[in-house]
């Protein structure tokens, strides 16, 4: 079963084109959606998750017409939104139980087993009776993924899950995702390049509502081999270099800018060959440099 997105478009009332003719094919496995804030990732996620309507295009999940058959999608869906709150005076156990019921696990005994197992899986068992309002950010996200995984979803949509998490929590999160079965379609949207690199077998780059790249991350990086050069320059020279070369990105290292430049042909003049990274891929794609 695949998720196919075909020419999906959405324009908000204020004229902003959130999605512009987006076409993607998402096979089972981890699929990364990479883009900056405002690129359209969340809009795309919410549309697939049946929370929003689209102006044009279609989305199919196997035989299911996602935009039309919302109930059908919901039965297979697990969703972790980018931003969510909690009810006051409700514990993690109660909330998970509540959501499991809503997802259709109506048999009480089964539900109990499921909820308890899930709490242990995400290492929240000791805190299960505490009110969710008292959870730290990392614990909140663990709860979030726990609820998304209830009811064995076939399509898992995870929207910016590791923003604001410390490296330890992020790690824990990746480990959880990695355990998800191979037949599950997982769409992970993020602006953290490492997430995609570490986890995803396929990715897409979204920028201003349009798809700038779709394919395997490794292949994309390899394709840049030998075409990325780096050089340390002085702050004042930056503008000059930007005019003369195809500057991909510029970072500060020990107080001085270090620029990455794209060039088909070898470069001299103080440049050294850089090992291309997915970040380079990102900026070259959206910059139209390649």
């Amino acid at each position: 079963m695949e998720l196919r997105i075909n020419a999906l478009s959405k324009t908000y009332v204020n004229g902003v084109k959130a999605l512009d003719n987006v076409t993607l094919t998402v096979p089972p496995g981890m699929y990364g959606l990479l883009g900056q804030d405002g690129a359209g990732k969340s809009t795309l996620m919410r549309t697939i998750a049946t929370l929003q309507e689209a102006d044009g295009g279609e989305v199919t999940l196997g035989d299911l017409n996602v935009l039309m058959d919302k109930d059908g999608v919901r039965r297979l869906l697990g969703y972790l939104p980018q931003d969510f709150g909690v009810y006051p005076r409700v514990s993690a156990y109660e909330m998970l139980d509540h959501l499991a019921l809503l997802k259709g696990v109506s048999a009480a005994k089964q539900r109990k087993e499921l909820v308890e197992a899930m709490l242990q899986k995400v290492n929240l068992w000791e805190h299960r009776k505490k009110a969710l309002t008292g959870y730290s950010g990392g614990m909140r996200q663990r709860f979030g993924i726990a609820q998304a995984l209830l009811g064995n979803p076939k399509l898992l949509i995870v929207d910016e899950p590791t923003a604001g998490l410390d490296p330890g929590e992020r790690n824990r999160f990746y480990n959880l995702l990695a355990e998800i079965g191979e037949s599950v379609i997982v769409i992970l949207s993020t602006h953290i390049v490492e997430d995609v690199m570490e986890l995803c077998s396929k990715m897409a780059i979204l920028h201003r509502g349009r798809v700038f790249f779709e394919g395997g991350p490794e292949d994309a990086v390899n394709a840049l081999a030998g075409k990325v050069y780096m050089r340390k320059i002085a702050k004042a020279e930056l503008k000059d270099y930007e005019a003369r070369y195809k500057v991909i990105s510029s970072k500060m290292v020990a107080g001085q800018p270090l620029i990455h430049v794209f060039s088909e042909d070898p470069l001299e003049d103080g440049f050294s060959l850089a090992n291309p990274s997915l970040e380079d891929v990102f900026f070259t794609k959206i910059g139209g440099l390649n």
Partner: protein, 1187 residues
Amino acid sequence: MFAELLRFELRYWLKAVMVWVFMVILGSLVFAATSTDQVTIGGSIGNTHRNAPYVIGTFYSIMGIFSMLMTTAFVNSAASRDFQYGTHQMVFSTPLKKAHYLLGRFIGSTLVAVIPMLGISVGMILAGFMPWIDAQRFGPIHWDAHLQGILTFALPNTFFVAAIVFVIAVLTRSTMASFLGTLVLLVGYIVTDVLTEDLDNERLAMLLDPFAIRTYSIMTKYWTVAERNTRALGWEGMMLANRLIWTGAGLVIFLLGYQRFSFSERSKKSKSAELESAEPAAIDIPVAQVSEGKATAWSQFAGLLKFEFWGLVKSTSFIVIMAAALMNTIPSIIFSAKEGYGNSSYPVTYFIVEVIQGSLYLFTISMITYYAGLLVWRERDARMDEIEDVTPSPTFIRYAAKFTALMGIMAILQAIMMLVGISTQTWLGYTRYQIGLYASKLFIYDFSFFVFLAVLAFFVHVLSPNKYVGYFGFVIFLVANAFVWDPLDVATRLVKYGSRPSYTYSDFFGYAPYFLTWWAFTLYWALFALLLCALTAVLWPRGKETALRIRWRNWQGEMRTAAMALGGLFLVFGAWLYYNNAVLNKLVGPKTALERQAQYEKKYKQYQKMTLPRITAIRYDIDIYPERRALRMKADQELVNNSNEAISSVHMVLDQNFDYDIQIDGARLESFDRDYGYQIYKLDPDMQPGEKRRMRYTVTREPRGIENSVRVMQLVQNGTFFNNGIAPQLGYQPEGELNDRNERRKRGLPEKDLMPALERDCTKNCMNTYLSNHSDWVSVETVISTSPDQIAVAPGSLLREWNDGGRRYFHYKVDKDSLNFYSFISAKYEVARGEWNGVKTEVYYHHEHPWNVEKMMRSIHLALDYCTKNFGPYMHKQARIIEFPRISTFAQAFPGTMPYSESIGFIARLEKPDDIDMVQYVVVHEMAHQWWAHQVIGANMQGATALSEMLAQYSSLMVMEHQYGRDQMRKFLEYEVDRYLSGRGRERLKERPLLTVEAQQGYIHYQKASAAIYYLKEMIGEDAVNRALRKTVERFAYAQPPYPTSHHLIDALREETPEHLRYLIRDLFEDITLFANRTVEATAKKRADGQYDVSIEVESKKLKADADGNEKECAMDDYVDIGAFAKPKDGKRYGETLYRERVKLQAGKRKFQFVTKEAPEKAGIDPFRLLIDRVPSDNLKKVSLSD
């Protein structure tokens, strides 16, 4: 730093809606209290200007209590805001000094909390500009008084409450604790207030009141009307002391909190220092079976219901509102089974459910309003909506669960109230619970309204883009629904959401008369509510697309067709109902009805003085059909021309609720104005002086279909009670005129007639009594039939009783020609029968109300004893008391019969032996009317009611005195004078002395009259008074016109009064006389022989008032009692009378010495309350014993 914090706080709040909403609420209350009579704050203000400084002070002091919860909201929020929103870590890590922080927040929020109080001034000033006010009752704007109100009450009171709340909030960091703390403070204040009510030590009372309400009232107690209109009380005298004490207390409390506050985090429970493993636990997630379909939906519903229910119940706001609701309602239930004269009645269930309605339902409606919003917006407020919305559960289950949770809570609340009611009844020793009545009233009649409200609330919130628009829209709708229809002249319930006919429960008929109409409209609105439910389910928000048309488009199928089917059904049913209301029955808009009343007067008042024949004899044939609420009354009456001119036309006024068929000998119907029920008959030939003619008529009522409101409650399934007012009335009837002054003015009508001015030796103007303009003394014979299980009663002796054709017949005849003023009754009665000197004494009562029947019987006998001995013979062969349903709550006297309402007298309960026996009091009063009104009746002139009511009161008082002794009379007189004094404060027109009292001035001809005639009796003796009364009866009983006036009575009394006491006649009856007596000092010293030398200093003042309430001091040379009393024995109200002397006093101070045999507890002037005193509570003073 501090200034900046202060400014921040002020700016934050001035933008908040809450401040202005509270200000509008307070302002509206004061506006209504100042410009209308619908709202009173702090009791009656008498003749003071409505915007006087005294009133301003009263409002400001009392509103301090109201605004306690407001202050709590502001201050608590300011104190805990940083913790609530998590900014405390940010704020506290700045170089902020504790002083600046706390002071800034505290002073800022306190100042802001004062702002709503300014609404008091705004409301009052605005009221002064309204077109409908009585300009005479308003003085100039006293800005200094407004300023004093703020400085003396608003600021210090708010400061005090704020200090307490601030400390609680800052130390506990819990909103719930703050509100509960305020509630405790409020309850504590009220309890202390009640407990210290009788505090003799006024100084202490003035200092102990943190809100200075008591202080203010004590300090202004003796202020004259002129002072109240001009003087504003500030920080002076005892008020200064009080303010210093309580402001100081507030400061101390604040400093306490200040000292204990710290910026550091509260030490949370130590986090377990475990290092959580980075690996997810190595367990398998069981594959859960996901299901759908009906069974799943049900368990989802059940689970959601529990979730929403507990979510509501655990929230702070719920706990606080519930606490407030219970604290308001439970005491109301417990303390409310009291009725007149401080007595109690049996705590009957219908009364308790009405108390529940009155005290709880405002909270219930507020809860529904508030929680509907919370429930609909819960997911979105918590930002859980995205997670919840993508689950595969059906949308309408969420709606169903939330709605059920809310209704469940309301139902539980009703059940709690029912338990409280039953417990209270049990505790008071009353076990007739009538569970069916509790259940039907609380869970059907009232609950249905809650359901309608909740359905609407959910619907409005689902349509609204945010919570506040939803609240606003719902409240606006409710207010509009209540108030917009009358001005639009729309009477039909079919457009007023949730409207059902009003009803009154009676033990006689339960809800039977209202049943059909009530259920018809309930079904109608239920259909509409179901339609709203369907629409709500269809439009329930899900996902991020909130435009309504998208929501509508997304919901196809069964819900939509269901909605449309319901809509159709609703319209069809509504049309049928409308046909019933408006075509089968008459339906008149409220404005049209008022207009018609005005037109009636404009067209026909010109005929008021027309000479008409008089009725002299009537024979009735009445058939009552209780189950159908139908009636047929046939009458054959004799008319006589008693005048000395020929009569050429006869006018009749008919009751619009009945059908008439009238025939007068030698007359034909010339015009029939159906809008007003006014008929004019032309007599051909003219009726000559002395000529007699016959008039025959039939009055019928046959209910048709379903009415908009249930009317003609005189005819019911059990307890039919109507008087001969439904007969065609001869001549123009002023009762049909508009009464309300504003409505009259609007329609160009002059002020309503008062009674004609009193004349001394009148002839032409005294030809009518004040009760009737078409008959004098008539003979009445009745044959009346009803259902076989009921008893029908008509005036007179029962001649014969028989059954025929499945109905029961009675034949009555009046023993002596009487006033044409009587009633016909039919109900399922038990009858208690007795006899007094050949007179049949009977009490007809509902079988479940036997408690006071024996006492009533005894009271009839006591009355007959006293009145026949002292006034004259009783002319009827029967004296009946008849119970009727509580649609009306009066007792009346007709010839030989006294109908008595179900909810007075019959349910009275005497607890203490020295309580005033209300039952006896009213029965004797009504029996006395058999002489005073039914033998001697006043002409239609000022002072007529003094003849009837004053003497009825007198008779009752004397019977009471003979039974309880002179010393007990003061309790009664206290109460009467109290009601007289408050009645004066409410007088809209002019107060009159007893001689010229108007018919509607009850506070004078009942209450003042009691005091006046009793005092006269005290001075000239019972025998003298009774001699005067007997002479009046001999002269005027059953007299033909011209009728007597109050002059005749007062003259008779004056004849029996010795010369040196004749001033009393003028003081008591011809003038409005008041006293200001008080005891300045009372001391006693024990003598060697064990007795006590008592010394008192008293002060006296005598005042006469004019019609507008202006009082002027006058010369005094009156007889006043002084006395001393021992400490009352346990359970008794009054102590033994140790000394009583009648002295002659002039105005001013005077000392008296006398001896008592034991230690006196209280001593003073006019201890038995014989004189009408402006401030009665200072007559007696506690005696201070010296050694």
